[in-house]
């Protein structure tokens, strides 16, 4: 029975190792391949941490199993050795994890800066957001500048509005301004690996480069009230031409005076 516990604690690191090895090919970690440029960096960090954690887990479990095994096979006449109060050991198990944490925090600094720090954003997107995404309970309201003008923080005459659907160009860096009208929300596009809180009173620039044209899910990732679950929208990545055409269409629609439409249907 004594040996059972040693085997028990040796068994789990093997399971963990196996799961870590097969998980990527099974798609257990992520909803999909990263589909934005930042996504690759973020996934890289995730895998780095995963490796560190796996090595640590396997190592500590192996040591635990070893201690149990030794205890189980020792004769009953031998005295136990107590490590409590050993300065040497305490220094080791403080400094080693500290080094690991400092290593992680230094390694991720560049990626974090790329995501969050405006001056590190690609030059082409700095100060040129394509749209304002306004979160509110429980929908995403989008405001585009009038084609040919720049997006201002305050609504301007000719701005275009839509809800729960944001069109952005694909394959080029794109920036949006994230705001909220009421409580905290979070702009979360799982397949793009973009997640940013929207904080009342702040205008938060968010950038991403979607690699392929297509439709991507946009969710709220901050419990914002009873309707949080229905706060879902879509990001549509298209060629620049496609986005421009969409905005022209939207502009026509928004200036609809009900007469041209009626004439067209009468013909």
């Amino acid at each position: 029975m004594k040996k059972f516990w040693a085997l028990f604690f040796w068994f789990w690191p093997l399971v963990a190792l196996y799961v870590c090895l097969i998980a990527p090919s099974r798609g257990w970690w992520f909803p999909s391949e990263p589909l934005s440029t930042l996504g690759h960096q973020i996934d890289g960090l995730f895998y780095l941490i995963l490796i560190i954690v796996t090595v640590t887990f396997v190592g500590t479990q192996a040591a635990l199993g070893y201690a149990l095994w030794k205890g189980a096979t020792k004769g009953s006449s031998q005295k136990a050795w107590f490590s409590h109060g050993s300065h040497k050991l305490e220094i080791i198990w403080t400094i080693v994890p500290a080094f690991v944490l400092v290593f992680i925090s230094l390694t991720q600094l560049d990626v974090l800066a790329d995501i969050r720090v405006l001056s590190k954003f690609p030059d082409s997107v700095q100060n040129s957001p394509v749209a304002e995404v306004m979160a509110r309970q429980f929908e995403w309201r989008i405001r585009y500048p009038k084609p040919g003008t720049k997006l201002m923080n305050e609504p301007q005459p000719g701005d275009l509005y839509f809800v729960n659907e944001v069109h952005v160009p694909a394959a080029v860096p794109t920036m949006i301004n994230l705001r909220t009208q009421d409580v905290q929300h979070a702009f979360f596009a799982p397949r793009l690996r973009v997640k940013q809180d929207a904080v009342p009173g702040l205008i938060i620039p968010v950038w991403f480069e979607i690699e392929k044209a297509g439709e991507y899910e946009l969710l709220c990732a901050e419990l914002c009230g009873w309707g949080h679950y229905k706060m879902k929208a879509r990001i549509i990545a298209d060629s620049q031409k496609g986005v421009d055409e969409y905005l022209t269409r939207l502009e026509l629609e928004q200036n609809e005076d009900g007469v041209a439409d009626a004439e067209a249907s009468a013909e």
Binding site: V163, M231, G258
Partner: protein, 474 residues
């Protein structure tokens, strides 16, 4: 749908606690609540007498309950399903095979779950279909109907399927605010301001139809798709079109049910409410009153109930016709400072008198917002000062400086708001105002948000021309 979810969770075998909790949620019967006015009738008028049914049985026989919806064919609701005729019947002791032909100009559905016989011997029976061949139209019925149908009988395949799917979606996405019966009293409603719409009046605020018309399907669909900014009504843009259409039909069904209930009760309320009966008891005997009610329910009420249904069918059908739709007689007047100035003059004029409610600067703070109004039904003063809507909620005029327009921000949306008014609210219809003038006001309203100070209309036409590219391009 709720059932299937519960079932899959059960399969996980997560223990009896979870199973109990989930099945507790999945199995319950909901009902359509009756209006307060119905409940204010005496019991005999509510439930009917031995001789004839009262309001509640009449209503239930025509609309059913959420589990068992009824299709009252007088009403213009797309119930779903396909109508077909029986072509041939081949029955043995154990099974019955029927070949259907579609009604002219229609086709048979690719899948079929049940068939309801409408005419002939078997009329009124609903039987499940076990095997369906869409090519030949041949079906094997799950059980033998009591009375065998004959060839030529009219029947509905999967009748009411669309309405039922609308109900499922409505219960999941809408009922927690708008309530099971569409009374705007779902569990969440208590915490919301403005209050969710109570459909039972059959009145919807934001329509593209004339002031006397009901809401059109298109209007409801628009509200579902784009939400109502400035309220808690969110956008359901991501739902599939057929899902949205199903919800629209179900909402119309609920609205018609509620409106029909109100009309039925009105036939009885003046004489047979608890209050009026207690007044009448001073010089009449209760048994006489019940006898009188009995005769009314037997002789007049059924015909009245039918004709009310016909009327309802007519007005709701009319709402979806071209005649009901507001079409401006002139295109939008190009936006310009002149036009805006004109609009502001009209806004302030004594004939239109917009400022009386919306305020001189459009901030929604006109003198009427401070007046105490009388409840038009009870004749008593409301407790709070300000304007009230048909649902007795405080409903203050819109602050037009915010740039939030609940019914939509397109010029045509604002045109419709002015032309038809906002139904159920104190915003009246200005249908007699020349359409050109309405466009001037629309131009002014759209520019209000950008005024540097109240009443300051931009002098530079360049900025104005930019604001209306489509109009300027005409």
């Amino acid at each position: 749908m709720e059932n299937s979810k519960a079932f899959s969770l059960k399969n996980l075998g997560l223990g009896c606690l979870l199973t109990a909790a989930v099945s507790g949620c999945s199995e319950f019967d909901s009902s359509f609540a009756y209006s307060a006015k119905t409940e204010s009738l005496i019991a005999e008028a509510q439930d009917g007498t031995d001789a004839a049914p009262g309001v509640k049985p009449t209503l239930d026989s025509r609309f059913g309950n959420p589990q068992q919806l009824k299709a009252w064919l007088k009403l213009p609701v797309e119930w779903g399903g396909a109508s077909a005729r029986v072509e041939a019947v081949a029955s043995t002791d154990t099974e019955i095979r029927i070949r259907f032909t579609p009604e002219e100009g229609k086709s048979l559905p690719t899948e079929a779950g049940s068939v309801q016989f409408i005419t002939g011997e078997g009329a009124g029976q609903t039987v499940a279909i076990t095997k369906w061949d869409a090519q030949t139209g041949e079906a094997v019925l799950a059980s033998l109907p009591e009375k065998s149908p004959a060839s030529g009988d009219l029947c509905a395949i999967d009748g009411g399927a669309a309405l039922q799917s609308g109900r499922v979606l409505y219960m999941r996405h809408c009922s927690h605010c708008h309530g099971t019966a569409g009374d705007g009293k779902g569990p969440t409603a208590e915490y919301l301001n403005p209050k969710p719409r109570d459909y039972r009046h059959g009145v919807f605020k934001f329509t593209s139809t004339n002031d006397q018309s009901k809401v059109s399907r298109e209007d409801l669909l628009r509200v579902l798709k784009y939400g109502i900014p400035g309220t808690y009504m969110p956008s359901f843009l991501l739902m599939k079109d057929e899902e949205l259409h199903a919800i629209v039909e179900y909402v119309r069904f609920l609205a018609m049910r509620g409106e029909y209930e109100r009309k039925l009760v009105n036939e009885l309320a003046s004489d047979y409410s608890e209050k009026s009966v207690s007044d009448r008891l001073k010089d009449e005997k209760r048994s006489d009153i019940v006898q009188e009610l009995n005769e009314f329910l037997k002789d007049e009420f059924p015909a009245t109930a039918d004709s009310l249904g016909d009327e309802l069918g007519e007005v709701w059908t009319a709402a979806d016709t071209e005649d009901a739709k507001i079409i401006p007689s002139v295109p939008r007047v190009p936006d310009s400072p002149e036009s805006r100035r004109r609009g502001r003059a009209l806004y302030l004029s004594s004939t239109l008198n917009c400022a009386d409610c919306h305020g001189i600067d459009g901030a929604g703070n006109g003198p009427q917002t401070l007046a105490f109004e009388k409840n038009p039904v009870s004749g008593e003063l409301y407790k709070e000062a300000g304007l009230h809507d048909e649902w007795d909620n405080l409903n203050q005029p819109r602050n037009l400086q915010r740039g939030i327009f609940r019914g939509g921000r397109r010029p045509i949306d604002l045109f419709c708001r002015i032309h038809a008014g906002i139904k159920g609210s104190r915003m009246p219809s200005f249908k007699n105002t020349p359409h050109e003038d309405i466009w001037h006001i629309v131009n002014y309203l759209l520019s209000l948000q950008f005024e540097s100070e109240p009443g300051a209309i931009a002098a530079a036409p360049a900025a104005a021309a930019e604001a209306a590219p489509a109009a300027a391009g005409d």
